[in-house]
Amino acid sequence: MDIMNFLKEQAVQHGPSGHEYEVAAWFKKQFEPLCDSVTIDPLYNVIALKKATRPVSDGKRAPRVMLAAHQDEIALMVADILPDGTLRMGEVGGVDPRILPASTVTVHARQGKNGYEKLLGVVGAMPPHLLSDADRQNNYKREDLFVDLGLPAEEVTARVHVGDLITLNGPARELLNGRCAAKSMDDRACGGALLQAAERLQTMTHICDVYFVITSQEEVGAQGATSAAYGIDPDLGIALDVTHAPLPSSRPDTTSPLNMPALCCGPYLQPKVFARIRDTAKAHSVEVSIDTASRRTYTDGDALQIVRAGVPTALISVPLKYMHTSVELLDTNVIRESGRLLAHFLSELDEGWDNDLWS
């Protein structure tokens, strides 16, 4: 799998939270050659199972490991159609309204007279000339902005409905030093890391049943991971998500270096599983940074940890810049290294892994 290609392809798949059908079908296709079974569940989680390839001792069952990366992207929704045919927006997940003015978007008109059509829209606002000095000092709020389809009002009402989705346009751009910027890197880039791991496992053995889960609805509360984990009932969970890389204005201790995966520790994450991943990284010369979360991690890991009777959980993060914009920027080598780390971890997981987890 070519990582740069993967990132370019993902950037043209649509999948706002709760509406991941398109991107889910695409992910399913990516995993099918690498796994024993791939299914899409009622919440659009993609669940790819790669069964154990090394036996465990008699009378024991293969441990189940669930890896989770989410496929949903932040997006907008038609909340109202104004009399002149412009659209007022609602949000799906956390969209920073500062990125919206003068952005181009795709309006997914699904129930109009032409059937499903993708309409190009521009996000407009009142021109600055007409604003007072005081107003110009403030950012636009989402309710001040509108989507302009360039169509007469009667055309808009015939083709677009309240509830239609609006996605950001953010095609991938290859930058220097193996870096890449695109929309929805959060968190499909981590889906890429899972694919890398699955690819490497083709030539390695493992005692665990590995569930690669591309989850839904992480941006609105991890509903997908909660449900998928309930069904899978994993013995061990690893979430992969993005985190913040440093910018000139970042506060200290809130970022992780762009060029390596970050391993997170904190009360929600199992200390011995954390240590095992850290040791695996060291043994295979995967450079990692250590990151902390004093409480919630704001990833699928939070949901995974308390499913059923509880799941020992770890979190691996891919640092990126400009999170929740249409130009999320990362280093492709981190995707490769995260995949390599996961593959080694899974392959080296032994039967005694859960002895004395808590002493």
């Binding site: 013995d235 506060r251 200290p252 201790d253 520790c265 904190g266 009360p267 929600y268 994450l269 200390p271 954390f274 250590i290 902390t292 004093s294 409480r295 919630r296 940890q305 308390i306 059923r308 009777a309 509880g310 799941v311 020992p312 859960d354 987890l357 808590w358 002493s359």
Partner: protein, 338 residues
């Protein structure tokens, strides 16, 4: 186990190992190895059966973890930057002693601040947020600090367990070692319920352990034994005191995590009255505890929280009254015999 021993064991949320193993060993000693487990979340679950096979399943929960700090990085000068684990008001941190790490290798540290002489009038007004506070362990530089206290190292307050005043005790981790202590005492008592003692973990960071424990136990009834905030000292109008030290165990009708089912709340009041146990109704809706997850896991359970009032909760110096601790024990004991 003595309350002192239990309180002095370190165990911030997610890093409860020393408390967990001490409690596990005592449960095993009293109930036998076959009735005690450490579950996947790190909860200690001890099962005490009763003669009646159709008895209701009762879950008694108290949390092992305490609030504390965790190392997040080291400065070039060898100072440790930290974050709070659990809800800590940063105003209580300045000029306190701490222990960095657990066990024999734990290091002493202090939380300093700019001397008052060097502060401007403006500085004096501002609360120092935790981002601007440091733990000083005397390390000479970043490399030394990172080698002895790597990122993720747990930190607890250093507060000796002290009896003082009128039946009062001053300690660090009373919330919720008081609940754990009561539960350990109850292990010896007769019960008319199929009783499951859940010593939970990670309560202070969102009741994480209780979810899994309740899922496993599937209780009909859940009793949560807690330490709860009291606001009774100083010039406070009676209706804002929440609960009062020395007045008995505090029975809750509601907190931010659950509303006690009315029949459950009334039952607890009635049991306290019949058994002559000093008790009070907690006069506020504050906090939240394991009752939330226990009440609403799977098909749900009836729950009520029974607390020991604690002054200066979530600070290095928490104070409670030993008579309230006894009342908590006596109330649950009376309930078990119902």
């Amino acid at each position: 186990m003595e309350l002192k021993t239990l309180c002095e064991l370190p165990g911030i949320s997610g890093r409860e190992e020393p408390v967990r193993m001490a409690i596990y060993n005592e449960c095993v000693e009293k109930l036998g190895k076959e009735n005690v487990t450490i579950d996947r979340m790190g909860n200690v679950i001890a099962h005490k059966k009763c003669a009646d096979e159709n008895a209701k399943r009762l879950m008694i929960a108290g949390h092992m973890d305490e609030v504390g700090l965790m190392v997040i990085s080291a400065t070039e000068d060898g100072l440790l930057k930290v974050c709070a684990i659990g809800g800590i008001d940063s105003r209580v941190l300045v000029s306190k002693r701490v222990k960095v790490g657990y066990g024999e290798n734990a290091l002493s540290g202090v939380i300093g601040a700019m001397a008052i002489h060097q502060q401007t009038a403006e500085d004096r007004k501002h609360v120092l947020p935790i981002e601007q506070l440091y733990v000083d362990i005397g390390a000479k530089d970043k490399a030394e600090a990172e080698s002895v206290a790597p990122v993720g190292t747990p930190i607890i307050f250093e507060t000796p367990f002290t009896l003082f005043g009128d039946h009062k005790v001053l300690a660090r981790s009373l919330d919720d070692r008081v609940g754990c202590y009561t539960m350990l005492r109850l292990l010896d008592d007769e019960t008319n319920y199929d009783t499951w003692f859940a010593f939970t973990c990670q309560e202070e960071v969102g009741c994480r352990g209780a979810y899994g424990a309740a899922f496993r136990i599937q209780p009909d009834i859940g009793l949560v034994l807690e330490g709860t905030a009291s606001n009774d000292a100083g010039d406070i109008p009676e209706h804002e005191q929440i609960c009062v030290l020395g007045k008995g165990v505090a029975i809750s009708f509601m907190d931010h995590a659950s509303i006690a089912q009315p029949e459950m709340f009334k039952t607890m009041l009635a049991v306290a009255q019949e058994a002559g146990v000093p008790h009070q109704v907690k006069m506020a809706v504050t906090g939240g505890n394991d009752g939330g997850p226990i009440q609403r896991t799977r098909i749900g359970a009836q729950t009520c929280a029974l607390s020991v009032p604690c002054r200066y909760i979530h600070s290095p110096s928490t104070v409670c009254d030993l008579r309230d601790l006894d009342a908590q024990y006596e109330l649950v004991k009376a309930f078990l015999q119902k």
